[in-house]
Amino acid sequence: MLSIKNLSLTIGDISVLKDIDLNIKPGQIMGLVGESGSGKSMTALAVMQLLPHASKTSGEIRFGDLDILNATEKQMCNLRGDEIGMVFQEPMTALNPVKTIGEQIAEGIRFHTGASGKDARDQAARILEQVGLPTSKFGLNRYPHELSGGQRQRVVIAIACAIQPKLLIADEPTTALDVTIQAQILDLLKKLVEENNMGLLLISHDLGVIADAADEITIIRSGEIIEAGPTRDILRNQSHPYTRQLAKASTHVPVRKTKPVTALDAKKAQTPPLLQVTNLICEYPTKRNSLFEKPLPFRAVDDVSFDIFPGQTLALVGESGCGKSTLARTLLRVHEPHSGGIEFEDMDLLNSGHQEIIAARRHMQIVFQDPYGSFNPRHKVSNIISEPMHLVKRKIGKDELVDALIQVGLEANDLEKYPHEFSGGQRQRIAIARALITKPRLIIADEPVSALDVSIRAQILDLLNYLRDKFRISYLFITHDLSVVRAFCDDVMVMNSGKIVETGSVSQLFDNPASDYTKQLLAAAPDLQKTLSARNS
């Protein structure tokens, strides 16, 4: 149905794709895997002919009888949305905010079939029903901002599948979603493939997702295909070194030299906790609905208590909006809690003076998900790293800065560079160096590896592991990715709607989850190892 032969693409002077071959049959799910910048999305956009300006393509893309690279814009408009649908990564911005979801689905139907407004709306209602948004609950006149991320992604899928395309291209359709929603969306895509005998080009950076969903897999790196074939064979044999490297990085477990520190062991040894949080409650004011009633505040963190011991790595997992980040910000006292207690090294953080809090902050640092957003782009690395030093009230020598950089695997001459000169992984190293400079005892890491490719993620985990072995640093490791928790953490706390639903050691919680919510999370998380062994048997 779709056949790509020797597709090459250059944008300006940069070669983006080289000799790509790819074939998709009706009813088949083709997984396209690669790290960021590998050319996955460009391959998809080339099929749609929606490439950026200054793109030059050569080779051949055939869809049925149509030669796409030589098709007119009119032919392409007829093809897009009719025979080929496309779903994008970011559901929050993929829908027009000022149009109702009904209008947006019906628009394509009217354009391609010439249906009347009413018929198109009826069809839109049917397709919404099919993607799991029954019109009794999700009316056609809803606006995108009234829906959650997962619901919006269903609408985007509804738009792409409105007139039963023969081929659906899904570019990272679940990357921005929580694991439970991700599982639902993948199930929906599989169901649509089966019901409509549709071909699906599923693009992802996540080998786990592809291993679970795709019949065939194509692995791409720097615009070139590394390996292609049936998913099961490719992932079982792992004959190509890059495939092996990807699979290994996806399931990477840093080698810990020191013993794991679990809360249970620490309590037995009667070690005093480093951080003690008791009955913490954080609230946000909410929208006023009536002129006469004061609105009830939204409780983002609801009666949370936990301890972190020296050297312990405690994972905080939960879906977006569960209160993870609010909790982290409250610990740093960026956000004021409603009530409760926070003690750090026997100091009451909530009732201490400014000076004492500054002293405590020295021992408590944070690493964010998006390092680029947390750097001032006009500061050099030396400024960025030495920034927390005002907490210790002393000038810092250049050799100390160099030490910090070398510790995180960068070089001395990087001090004089600006953030934009580094890759994503290197920037995260700079962020870690900035956290390390005050010799902290606790690092709060808020999704520190979520924005990184698997191979970089493995490196950063190794770095964090090295630091904890060397300096006995404790981590509060906030993440939504359960595979990282299993690979890196000692204990886990599961958070749902502001409450801690379960706490335990990693092995205990993963093997014998007690709460329904944890079970649900574990079942939804794509697990490469598990999928492969299930497929092999």
Partner: protein
Amino acid sequence: MLYYLIRRSVSLLLTLALSTIVIFMVMEIVPGDPALIILGIGATDETIAALRQQMGLDLPLLTRYFQWVSGVLVGDLGTSYTYSVPVSELIAERSIVSLPLAIIALTLSTLIAIPTGILAASKRGQVTDTGIMGLTQLGIAIPNFWFAMLMVYIFAVILQWVPAGGFPGWDQGILAALKSLILPAIALALPQAAILSRVTRSALLEALGEDYIRTARAKGLTRSMVLWRHALRNAMIPVLTIMGLQFAFLLAGTIIIENVFYLPGLGRLIFQAITQRDLIVVESTVVLLVASVILINFLVDITYAWVDPRLQSERG
């Protein structure tokens, strides 16, 4: 939506009330005793005191404020010290020149700016785009009084299509009145159009770079359909903001153009009233102008909510 409207209306009234206080206070602080100005330097203290009493200037500040505000509320704006006619009459007389002038100028500017802005955005980087953007640079750079004089020379002196200045009054026929307003309206509209055109273009280009445009293209819509159906409405918010500001400016900031064309508008009324210390006229005119600016912003706010449904449910 209802809640949004109520909230906006409350803030409208509060701003209005606040602005009357500020205007009243400023006029109190400004030096110059109206009684002294009316009577001249030779007046005795007794006559000045008598006149002050007659004008109510000897009453306490608060009493005078409430007298003035309650008068404004029922349309009684007081009597001008210099012209000795009710201020409301003066303002009405001038408004029938200034208001149509502002409306014509804004309409002209919108009619020029939106299409050229859209055209420039849809031909981004091509000759049409650079041409239009070059013209808008000129439009912003050239002072409008200079352009006004040029037009007077061409259309009034050489071609003699329209009068060079003055206003015959609406009772002389709509055509005659419009003829004398058209040149000043164009002179006012062009720089505004240049700014608005640039705003339209950049807002559209920003909207065209959004993810939902890609979604719409993937649906099969052509480039121009995407522009008209998806990008334009999203680009309207900055355009509306600028239009609101421009209308406010056109109502009161036209004094130079009114002078060039010798038009009896509000701008000149204020100017004359200030030079003659005719405080009551200044106060009332400024209050009216402030009120209309606030009202325009209120209308713009409501249009925002109509254009962008997210604002209706936004937390405040």
